[in-house]
């Protein structure tokens, strides 16, 4: 008897501003699994992350998203976060005037319940996690993502993951913008944080991340649909051949035209 999967997406159709992006997408992620999602620019990877997390600008026209057996189609983003869904953003936005520490305290309280958060313990935990991820403590006092370099933003996304301890973590191109050392530190961080109870969906364009974070399954998203799924070998093939064949097979223009 297998337990309830973490995430089940069935025939998902979603649009933004009336423009269809996802066109019948299916995906299942179980506890303990790491899935990689690849696909050409504009194929809908970030859209999928946004839709899973409940971005209000994206509309689901058909299909269902289940999290731990519960249909979450209509749920607000904050409720989904409380259920344990986390997104490390491809482009983290800045919140001027709000320090990273205050922001994290508010999120941790929201997720764990205010009564379960003791200030001293929170501080200790924050400092420890910052150290693990090689983030200078001064960042706690800086405003969220304001003036952070690309790589610093990505590290801070993983810091948030570390503090919020989600059961499903979606990492949207967390590797982009990271230098070689940072890539290793951040990947190590993700591996360290990934428990057997967790599921991870890693969105990336490059094999190099998957050398660090080893996926059980790799999916290829093209034009709003998953057109190929398999083991780690799928990513290696893509690295070699690119998307042209897949695109042609689906009647789409190859890249670089």
């Amino acid at each position: 008897m297998s337990e309830t999967p973490l995430l089940v997406i069935k025939n998902l159709h979603a649009s933004v501003d009336g423009k269809p992006i996802l066109r019948g997408l299916d995906l299942t992620v179980n506890r303990g699994e790491i899935h990689a999602l690849m696909g050409p620019n504009g194929s809908g990877k970030s859209t999928l992350s946004n839709v899973i997390c409940g971005h209000p600008n994206y509309e689901i026209s058909e299909g269902e998203i289940h999290f731990l057996g519960q249909n979450i189609n209509e749920m607000e983003a904050d409720e989904r976060a409380k259920l344990g869904i986390f997104l490390a953003f491809q482009y983290p936005t800045s919140i001027p005037g709000v320090t990273l520490a205050n922001f994290l305290l508010a999120s941790v309280k929201a997720i764990r319940g205010a009564d379960n958060v003791k200030l001293l313990a929170f501080r200790k935990e924050l400092i420890a996690q910052m150290q693990e991820l090689g983030i200078n403590q001064d960042f706690a006092k800086r405003y969220v993502n304001e003036g952070f370099s690309g790589g610093e933003k990505k590290r801070c996304e993983i810091l948030q993951m570390a503090m919020l301890k989600p059961s499903l973590a979606i990492l949207d191109e967390t590797d982009s913008g990271l230098d070689i050392d940072a890539l290793r530190i951040v990947s190590d961080g993700v591996n360290r944080l990934t428990t057997p109870e967790m599921g991870v969906l890693v969105i990336t364009h490059y094999q190099r991340l998957l050398n660090h974070i080893k996926p059980h399954k790799v999916h290829v998203l093209v034009h709003g649909r998953i057109v190929q799924s398999g083991g780690p070998e799928v990513a290696l093939q893509l690295e070699e051949k690119g998307y042209d064949e897949l695109l042609k097979a689906h009647g789409l223009e190859p890249a670089g035209v």
Partner: protein, 470 residues
């Protein structure tokens, strides 16, 4: 008709609370409307010197002769005949707690304002028992030679200082509401800081709240003598419930050579109040004046704190926030008048409009012909929380000298979907997310406040965003 008879009649007309005998605990409330007799009564009740009565009467004439301002906000709803211009309430006088609007009570609850204070803030009791706290502070100040009194006592104890400076920074003829204030003023603070004295703790009107300082026509005069420094704080974040709908204060600051005055205001008038305040400072050689001004409540606010940079090296700063919710218009700004060379001014104005509220930044920067090497920096940021709300900027510049460095920047932004989603994806409810963004937006202001005010303001923003009040 003898004015005494008229006076008696008037007292009778609105005789609500009764006289208490003994210890002069009498109560007086003028009838509504503004007449020469009322002005005379006020002066008489206070046992003022003749010159003050003259000032008042002269101001009354000016008030009557000046038309309503045609610019700024719509003030046509003010009914000058429907206002009590003078109330003298002593302890034991109780307006009923039941008269206080429900939303104000709720806010007190949520802000955790102590019982005794609530009643004062709601205008139910005239006294707040802070004598104990205040007493030790007062002794410290006395040792330093600092005068810190309510304006009425200031006039009694230091008539020659008051006479010398009163109305010199803001004469009655300055504007209709300055004239009104001069005619009927009551309460406010009178502060003189002796040369070289640096007052370390902020002087808070709060500590002597029983001294009528929160009247609706209060008059404040602060004089910082050479090389001294002082920080004055008035107001609080709890809503002040006013049964009369006009608050018209005048604040005059004099910063003598090398002195520093910081004047912090946080006001949250109930939303029936027209809040029309004239604030102006003269900053002399190498002096600094900072207005930290927070406008949260009221129906309409018109307030443009000014600094006249009188002599070389003077610096002026205005840092203000405004919040306008449903049915509110905050028309606020700053005036910087550079009259001397090598002077500098900075204005940072932050405003938020929500639920159809309107904010305006109205600013004037003036540089006199012989004021060279002047630096001016003006920045106003407006944040709209929805499509119904509105914000405008009216920056006026009159610059008559070429050797001037002027920076001006204005931004209007809407609260971002991406910011909201980012915060909500971390578990914050929509209201908490908005409150966090708003708090962040006001951060440059909030971080200038003493801790307890900052905490209160954060909480107030949280409440406002929940929309459960107002």
């Amino acid at each position: 008709m003898s004015s005494d008879a008229a006076l008696l009649e008037e007292i009778g007309q609105d005789y609500k609370y009764g006289f208490h005998d003994g210890e002069e605990k009498y109560v007086y409330k003028s009838s509504k409307g503004l007449t020469r007799e009322i002005v005379e009564t006020i002066s008489k009740q206070k046992n003022e010197p003749a010159w003050m009565l003259e000032r008042r009467l002269e101001a009354l004439d000016i008030f009557n002769s000046k038309p309503m301002p045609e610019w700024g906000s719509d003030l046509s709803e003010i009914d000058f005949s429907d206002i009590h211009y003078f109330m003298k309430a002593n302890e034991g006088v109780e307006k009923s707690w039941d008269d206080v609007p429900e939303y104000i009570k709720k806010t007190f609850d949520r802000l955790g304002i102590p019982e005794a204070e609530r009643k004062f803030l709601a205008g139910v009791s005239a006294q707040y028992d802070s004598e104990v706290v205040y007493h030790s502070i007062r002794e410290d100040l006395e040792k330093l030679g600092v005068i810190f009194l309510d304006m009425d006592s200031g006039l009694k104890e230091y008539p020659e200082i008051v006479q010398k400076y009163f109305g010199t920074i803001i004469p009655s003829a300055d504007n209709k509401f300055a004239a009104l204030n001069t005619a009927v003023w009551s309460g406010g603070s009178f502060i003189v800081v002796p040369a070289g004295v640096k007052v370390e703790i902020p002087l808070q009107a709060y500590f002597r709240i029983n001294a009528q300082n929160m009247g609706q026509f209060e008059r404040t005069l602060i004089i910082a003598q050479p090389g001294s420094s002082v920080h004055y704080i008035e107001g609080c974040t709890a809503p002040i419930y006013a049964s009369d709908s006009l608050h018209s204060a005048v604040v005059e600051l004099i910063a003598e050579e090398g002195s520093t005055i910081r004047y912090t205001t946080i006001q949250n008038w109930s939303n029936n109040v027209f809040n029309l305040v004239t604030k102006r400072a003269y900053a002399y050689k190498n002096a600094t004046v900072e207005w930290i001004d927070g406008n949260l409540g009221s129906k309409i606010t018109m307030k443009y704190p000014a600094v006249h940079l009188m002599e070389e090296g003077a610096r002026g700063e205005v840092l203000s926030i405004a919040y306008a919710g449903k049915g509110q218009h905050q028309d606020a700004g700053a005036k910087m008048v550079h009259l001397a060379p090598n002077t500098a001014s900075t204005v940072l104005s932050k405003s938020i409009s929500r639920d159809g509220g309107r904010t305006s930044y109205r600013g004037l920067v003036k540089v006199a012909p012989d004021a060279h090497n002047v630096k001016v920096n003006v920045r106003c940021d407006a944040l709209l929380l929805d499509d119904k709300s509105r914000s405008d900027t009216y920056p006026y510049m009159e610059i008559d000298n070429k050797d001037v460095q002027v920076g001006h920047e204005a931004t209007v932004s809407k609260i971002g979907d991406e910011q909201l989603f980012y915060l909500m994806s971390r578990g914050l409810s929509e209201n908490d997310a908005i409150a966090m963004i708003v708090n962040g937006f006001f951060e440059p202001f909030i971080k200038e406040l003493p801790m307890e005010y900052a905490v209160e303001l954060n909480r107030l923003i949280q409440l406002e965003m929940e929309g459960s009040i107002g």
